[in-house]
Symmetry: C2
Subunit: 552 residues, 2 copies
């Protein structure tokens, strides 16, 4: 049996595009005489469709899509993810379904059993879990069809009380298929390989795994579709961060996979170091966000600091340097070297830039507020005004010319609220919002790996917001090395204050940092969506009360 | 048996305050010789604790809280909601538990079976459902302890495949206790009474129901704790929108409830018209938000229009007129009557106000942008600049003096994106963000029910943003009567375009409105939390993709 894996970039609710892509892949697979082609979980609506699933009309569109795809499945079978209706009047209205299409119709449906409902996942919001397990037989081969999480309960800390494969294996399948929607984070590639290999070797069956690529707002899908042999060895991986279509031969007698027609290729041009993966994911995230929203041009404020520098380079890679607009917005507190660093970066990258001084506008607010403020001393208010004046200018340019403003805040700043709401926290998408400051430096080093693109002075100088004379980040915050290690324990590892202090961190610093994280929840509530590259990003994956008092 | 119901305002993660309140109520109940006192679902941590539940340290604090409350339960028993750990290594780590405390210790634990995971609820994110059902016997009385949703599967469209009471009734309980965390929306009061009455009459048992009051950011809890007799008649309801503590006598032989010591009182001073409930809920929502964040003073921009007028009155009721600051921020497009209306309102309410013209600051942006904009005609960009200049001024005052800025956008505007991000969409809390424009008029009429507080001219003039000469909302939007009816079908009723058109609405208008709602998801993503008064508010209860293409 010849099996094809189609790793595609779907777009939520864009049925015309999603269905066209699926049908074109089927056509191509048919031309290559494939018997079966595999598409990802919820490929028809795109993933995650979120509350669109609550619209009957949206489900109806999904059903029409499956119907039209089924028409093409003659002489070839396809497994395609799409929602289906639960006909039982009790329980959730939908299933998360793998449709088995052949002979021009729906031959079988397998519903997802284990519905992830943690971090960024909300599947139990929409779907009833499957309780009926049947392998699918096609051309004499028994296929155990599973959907993403269905294979993930094999870890050492099982989240669910049941495992679909434990039931399916009793029906003596010849192979496992897993259709997935498994978003990227920097450790996901190795976790994914482990889980699939563990399933393959536990059940002694090859696994065909197909994932999404592309991004849907904050969620980035790296692909990583793969074939694992019955011993748990990864035989082939499709390309990461791009669409791909490959073919394999399955030998029923040996219950194993042979080479594809073209030989095993593996992923092309992939640097698997963590920082390279983060880099590639962010570039894909920016590119897809703009394309799916129908925008081509980005704008950002360039301060001469490292965050805006790294953001600019990533945007230029994603969109092309001619599609990025850099604006220098100096105030009375901007240093000469910052302006020089910013200009040098723009010139190194070929990104067009312009300079607009905010001094006059800042002064007009000072004079307008003077009668109210009287002789109160300047404080964070005046710093915020500068940041907000910059935002007004950048948003005016974005509005007038049709750009999307890129937010350049990093995860360390977002965590402790070191930024101005409606000021530097503005933007359509936060490129570095899941990248700690120490990782931003790693990204800068990676960007400069073959030549100096980001000026070395930008990398070496002490970080400063330049909102008052001589200001440095270290006036208000612990050093980023220390800060990021505390934040990681609190945010990624969910460790409480006592736990972190027991690790040897200074109690006062820990309590101060954790309090800053909690009391700035209100700021993060109003900031742009953040491209997610870690296992725990701010946004939909971390849901915190605003009025909570814990630790504060 | 004498039973007390304690309806309290808990604060998420504020263990010191929550535990103190619980212990004081136990003390009071003991003084009144009560045998049993009931507290709400997840009373110890407050509801909803959200991802704090993922912190082991937070759970440990909850356990310490239960332990200290148990110490007080001698000669009296208490049922208190708090999370507990799932000792089974498979499945979610926690249960949502009703602790039965007596004789100074935990006598029994009942876990929640039906975990709401829709709209604003995420309980399956944290909790394993209960599968072990036992009535609790105390002083010879068998109590069926249930937690909120456990009683809600009795409706005509059951969301779950099982009902705890169907199992518990086989153990012949004498009464039902339901501890809840059931947030307000304008229909919830009557739904809640129906559900509880249906349970009481179906099982022939009285129901003691205890809910939260107060607010946790967007969620408002109205209370509505009550006692229903075995025939399904509501015997007593505690006060709405305030803390309350009452006592009842339960007669085991008759399996029914007798009067309380003080006679049945019912809720005091409650106008149950929908608009009065919305009004009372919003006032409670504002008041609690400020108190729990430790703020006392609000600021808002007063335009002379109806949204800011209603917001000001609600804030003055919630915080006291001396704790609200109104700022008039006229531009060259502000009409004289708007300024007069705003001043009249401030004077009617006794709210201090000041006037700060934004003209000079607006001009400084015009001149700063002129070299870039050249002779491009003014468009929405210039309108946005005005709104953003106002935001810079209001936020500067808020930062300097420690106010929270109130957002005055209504639900109709938020729906179609008729507002400026980082401009009039700023604020710490959106007071009217779940109130359609037509309902804002109803609120204004309600506010003016005994005297003209909001100037009649504010109510009668055509709505305008006053951002360009002669502008009216109806230039860009359908009339609000029509718009709100379409929005209601789309947002509250989840009807798709075809469904709404079939109801008789004009196809072009429907498609335009729905497209506006979808393409403005990015704006709503970055706006303040919205006080929720409807069954479907923007925010945590409505989760939509930003990059989705459906309908656009």
């Amino acid at each position: 049996m010849k099996i094809s894996i189609a790793q595609l970039d779907y777009h939520i609710g864009n049925f015309e595009s999603n269905i066209r892509k699926i049908r074109e892949a089927i056509q191509q697979a048919r031309e290559e005489s494939a018997d079966l082609i595999l598409f990802a979980e919820l490929a028809v609506p795109g993933y995650p469709p979120r509350d669109f699933l609550e619209f009957d009309d949206f489900i109806h569109e999904c059903e029409l899509g499956i119907h039209s795809i089924a028409q093409d499945c003659r002489g070839i079978a396809a497994i395609v993810g799409s929602p289906s209706r639960n006909t039982n009047p009790r329980g959730k209205r939908l299933f998360n379904t793998a449709y088995f299409l052949a002979e021009g119709k729906v031959m079988a449906m397998t519903h997802k059993s284990l519905l992830p409902n943690y971090d960024v996942f909300d599947e139990y919001r929409y779907f009833e879990p499957n309780r009926d397990f049947q392998v699918i037989e096609y051309h004499g081969i028994k296929i155990a069809v599973t959907i993403c999480e269905d294979l993930w309960n094999i870890t050492d800390t099982p989240l669910y009380t049941a495992s679909p494969m434990e039931i399916l294996i009793q029906q003596h399948p010849d192979m496992i298929v897993n259709i997935a929607a498994s978003p990227f984070h920097y450790d996901q590639m190795s976790i994914r390989r482990d889980v699939l290999a563990r399933n393959a070797s536990t059940y002694g069956l090859p696994v065909f795994y197909v994932n999404h690529i592309g991004a849907q707002t904050e969620l980035i899908f790296d692909g990583g579709s793969m074939v694992v042999d019955r011993k748990g060895r990864v035989l082939d991986e499709l390309n990461y961060f791009q669409e791909d279509l490959r073919f394999y031969r399955f030998d029923k007698a040996k219950k194993n996979v042979l080479l594809s027609d073209r030989g095993i290729m593996g992923p092309q041009n992939l640097d698997t170091s963590r920082i390279a993966l983060i880099h590639d994911a962010l570039v894909l995230g920016i590119r897809t966000y703009f394309r799916k929203l129908g925008f081509r041009e980005a704008i950002l404020g360039l301060s001469g600091g490292i965050d805006s520098a790294v953001t600019l380079v990533l945007a230029a890679e994603a969109l092309g340097n001619e599609h990025v607009r850099a604006v220098l917005l100096p105030s009375r507190y901007s240093t000469g070297h910052s302006v020089r660093d910013a200009v040098e970066l723009a010139e190194n990258t070929g990104v067009p830039y312009q300079t607009i001084s905010i001094e006059e506008a800042f002064r007009s607010f000072e004079s307008l507020l003077q009668p109210v403020f009287g002789d109160r001393p300047p404080d964070v208010t005046e710093e915020n005004i500068q940041a907000r004046v910059r935002a007004v200018v950048l948003m005016a340019l974005a509005n007038k010319f049709g750009y999307i403003l890129l937010n350049t805040s990093n995860k360390s700043e977002a965590a402790v609220g070191y930024g101005t709401l409606y000021g530097d926290m503005c933007g359509g998408i936060a490129v570095l919002g899941d990248v700690y400051k120490t990782q931003v430096y790693e990204l800068a080093a990676y960007i400069n790996r073959s030549r100096e693109i980001i000026p070395v002075h930008t990398i070496q100088k002490p970080p400063s917001a330049e909102l008052k004379p001589g200001q440095q980040d270290s006036d208000s915050l612990p050093d980023y090395d220390l800060l990021d290690r505390i934040l990681f324990q609190y945010i990624e590892m969910c460790q409480g204050p006592q736990d972190i202090i027991h690790m040897g961190f200074d109690e006062k610093t820990v309590r101060k940092v954790l309090r800053m994280v909690n009391t700035n929840e209100y700021k993060r509530h109003q900031t742009p969506p953040i491209l997610r590259i870690s296992p725990k990003a701010f946004g939909m994956g971390r849901r915190m009360p605003i009025v909570g008092r814990y630790l504060s």
